[in-house]
């Protein structure tokens, strides 16, 4: 018999994140490195543990190997608990049928037994794709106070970008009247953050209704929320005004990393009262050599810096050679930047080796961000020797 839990979190971590190109060919988007030390999913898992939510089901599907071993038994986030803790929930087979998750709601539907074990009052549905710090316990209080059946966290986005998001049209009390998925002409700029709290009884009922609807795409935004609205259930929007970023593209991933380097960053990694936890690489402190110069940057342990680093984010175990320049770049774990090489406005993925004397930078006046690949390096090397 499991101990009853007030609130169980379900973290959707199966996303491919195909717009991140080569960064997600072998790992799922939530496992993509971020901020010099973390993976994207660390933010949601740390939010859970910091909010006092100790029962988290992580739903995986696409390329789960790295994610599964990264999460392990959850000790890094203090989620290795006797009752609850973190549980990785991959798709499974039942009788003769393999049940791939066909949508976000479908993924939860297939794991209703996991939720039932804890007999919760509330279910918190999260996405492992976003960078933000949020106290879910405050959102839960808001949900309870407002006697809602479902509460959706929203953030104000610039009006000209609103048509890229799922938009909530609310009354002045933040009660949701309408949901518009990527509207051409948005009536509001309150975008869904993909964070939902449901009364478990209601969610269970609607998941079952949705499951037998053959026209449904089994998605929370597109199908479940409209179903709640059609049935006149009370839905509340929970306004969030902190830093929130969907790092869905190479450019936005780069921007979110650069955001950390501002004088007063929107996302403070140095706040001890809301620590972001991660699996620690356990490497010695970084070494900054006689010839090195490091400014306006974040540099993680195990680095060996012999060149110039400015306005960049450098992950653990990176080596940079003498005479090299790293400028407005993100260098992921264990990458090596050779002597006299230049890397500017680029992301260098994990383990990539940039040989000596290579220059990687966007064309003049281009606002592009280069995602460095082995093929690109091969091409540049041929250009140098040619």
């Amino acid at each position: 018999m499991m101990v009853k839990k007030k609130c169980v979190a379900m973290l959707l971590a199966g996303g491919q994140g195909s717009r991140l190109q080569s960064l997600t060919t072998s790992i799922a988007k939530p496992a993509v490195p971020f901020g010099g030390k973390y993976r994207i999913i660390d933010f949601t898992l740390s939010n859970c543990t910091n909010s006092g939510i100790d029962t988290v089901g992580v739903l995986t599907q696409y390329q789960p190997l790295v994610l599964n071993s990264y999460i392990g038994i959850g000790s890094a986030w203090d989620l290795d608990r006797r009752n609850g803790g973190v549980t990785v929930l991959p798709p499974y087979t039942e009788a003769s049928e393999v049940k791939w998750y066909s949508g976000t709601a479908n993924a939860i539907y297939h794991n209703m037994k996991y939720i039932e074990q804890y007999n919760p009052e509330y279910v918190l549905v999260l996405s492992g794709d976003h960078i933000y710090k949020m106290d879910y316990s405050k959102m839960l209080d808001y949900h309870i106070q407002n006697e809602a059946e479902a509460t959706i966290s929203v953030v104000e986005v610039p009006w000209d970008e609103a048509s890229r998001f799922g938009i909530m049209n609310t009354n002045k009390d933040y009660e949701i009247l309408e949901f518009d998925e990527k509207p051409a002409e948005p009536k509001s700029n309150l975008a869904s953050m993909g964070i939902y709290i449901f009364n478990w009884k209601a969610l269970k009922e609607f998941l079952e209704v949705d499951n037998v609807n053959e026209e449904s795409s089994h998605d929370f935004g597109k199908d479940l929320i409209p179903l709640f609205l059609n049935e006149d259930k009370r839905l509340m929007a929970y306004p969030f005004d902190g830093y929130w970023k969907d790092v869905g593209t190479v450019k936005s991933l780069w921007e979110a990393n650069m955001d950390l380097l501002k004088e007063n960053p929107g996302l403070n990694l140095f706040d001890h009262s809301w620590r972001i936890y991660s699996r620690n690489p356990n490497q010695p402190p970084q070494y900054i050599s006689h010839h090195a110069e490091v400014k306006e940057s974040l540099v993680n342990e195990g680095c060996f810096i012999e060149g110039k680093v400015q306005h960049s984010v450098i992950f653990q175990g990176v080596k940079t050679g003498e005479g090299s320049l790293i400028d407005e770049a993100v260098i992921m774990p264990d990458a090596v930047i050779g002597s006299n090489s230049v890397v500017r406005r680029a992301i260098v993925p994990e383990g990539i080796h940039v040989p000596d004397g290579i220059t990687i930078e966007p064309e003049d006046n281009s606002s592009d961000i280069i995602l460095v690949t082995d093929e690109l390096i091969e091409k540049l090397r041929k250009d140098v020797t040619a």
Partner: protein, 341 residues
């Protein structure tokens, strides 16, 4: 399965390190930006396949216990074997050398109950990266009674001994008058076959503040760094979840070792900076060792200073020691007026 039982004798008092060991045992003195002394020998044991380690602490072992915990960070939280913290029932009268029989005797059952045949006995104040398996192989080939580990001509105060002989030495100590393993090795009159194993890598014997400072500065030599932190033999420590180090636009850092969670806004040269240290604008920190969470304000000048944990140096302070005699600011000190030596 390893045939070695690891013993860390953390009871020895090192007189010369008093400034750094007032509130902690020598084993838990911070070193190299993020470690404690004991991390090195403990990691050596784990990397050499030792699965059972006993730590014998002396008084003031709170900081040591807090650091070691269940041994999880060293992968020593095991169902079978693992980490054993064996504090004294009473403090023996004699001030002994490494491997004190009077102390080991208080936990003789531990040795009798363990299934390993050989015991590796080490202290906590020698910092090195060593393969103990190799030393055991030498011990077995030459059929020594006791093997002493040495570096150049210095004893590392680490020993390998057959467990049955160790138990015999402990039980017979009243007759034999030997007080410790180290004592047996250093006494000329006995019939034991004592051999040596030479460790050629870098080894730091921390027996004074000067040695501590010297070896801290040596970390900035990449050949030393590589010998203490080879990628295949990592040094484990208690994990702190600090963010990466943040360098501001005004920071200038050269030839330094900097740990995570530090915020550098000033100038740092030839120094060791630990986790979560803050160095303010227009401050110059040269040839210093700054330990965890210490804060240096704006416009300070520090040369040849060791700052223990939680030291605060307020704005505009100048502090200067010398290479031969570094200035030590004890844990928790707040410095506001200029001092020059």
């Amino acid at each position: 399965m390893s045939r070695l039982l690891g013993v860390i004798d953390a009871t020895n008092v090192v007189g010369g390190l008093q400034d750094l060991s007032l509130n902690r045992s020598v084993a838990s003195i911070p070193f190299a930006g993020r470690y404690r002394f004991i991390d090195f020998i403990l990691s050596n044991m784990v990397n050499s396949g030792v699965e059972s380690v006993a730590i014998f602490p002396k008084h003031q072992y709170r900081s040591l216990m807090d650091h070691i915990g269940s041994g999880k960070n060293w992968d020593l939280d095991r169902k079978k074997d693992g980490l054993f913290f064996l504090p004294p029932f009473f403090e023996p009268n004699e001030n002994s050398t490494v491997g004190s029989f009077a102390r080991l005797d208080q936990h003789l059952d531990f040795f009798k109950r363990s299934h390993q045949d050989y015991v590796f006995i080490a202290n906590s104040y020698v910092i090195t990266n060593i393969d103990i398996e190799e030393a055991l192989a030498e011990h077995l080939i030459h059929d020594h009674d006791i093997t002493e580990l040495v570096n150049h001509t210095h004893s590392l105060d680490m020993y390998i001994v057959k467990k049955s002989l160790l138990i015999e030495l402990i039980e017979n100590r009243k007759n034999s008058q030997f007080i410790s393993v180290s004592d047996v090795v250093n006494q000329p009159l006995h019939n034991f076959n004592i051999g040596t194993y030479t460790h050629t890598g870098y080894a730091a014997i921390m027996n004074s503040i000067e040695a501590y400072f010297h070896h801290s500065m040596k970390l900035l030599d990449p050949t030393v760094w590589n010998q203490l932190f080879p990628a295949d033999r990592p040094v484990f420590t208690k994990v702190k979840d600090e963010p990466p180090t943040r360098y501001s636009s005004a920071s200038t850092v050269t030839n330094s070792m900097i740990a995570n969670g530090a915020v550098i806004e000033g100038r740092v040269n030839s120094s060791i900076i630990s986790r979560a240290v803050k160095i303010g604008r227009n401050s110059h920190v040269t040839n210093c060792v700054v330990m965890q969470k210490s804060q240096i304000g704006e416009g300070c000048t520090l040369e040849y200073v060791i700052l223990d944990k939680d030291v605060r140096v307020l704005d505009g302070v100048t502090l200067k020691g010398s290479p031969e005699k570094p200035l030590v600011l004890r844990k928790g000190t707040v410095r506001e007026m200029a001092v020059s030596m």
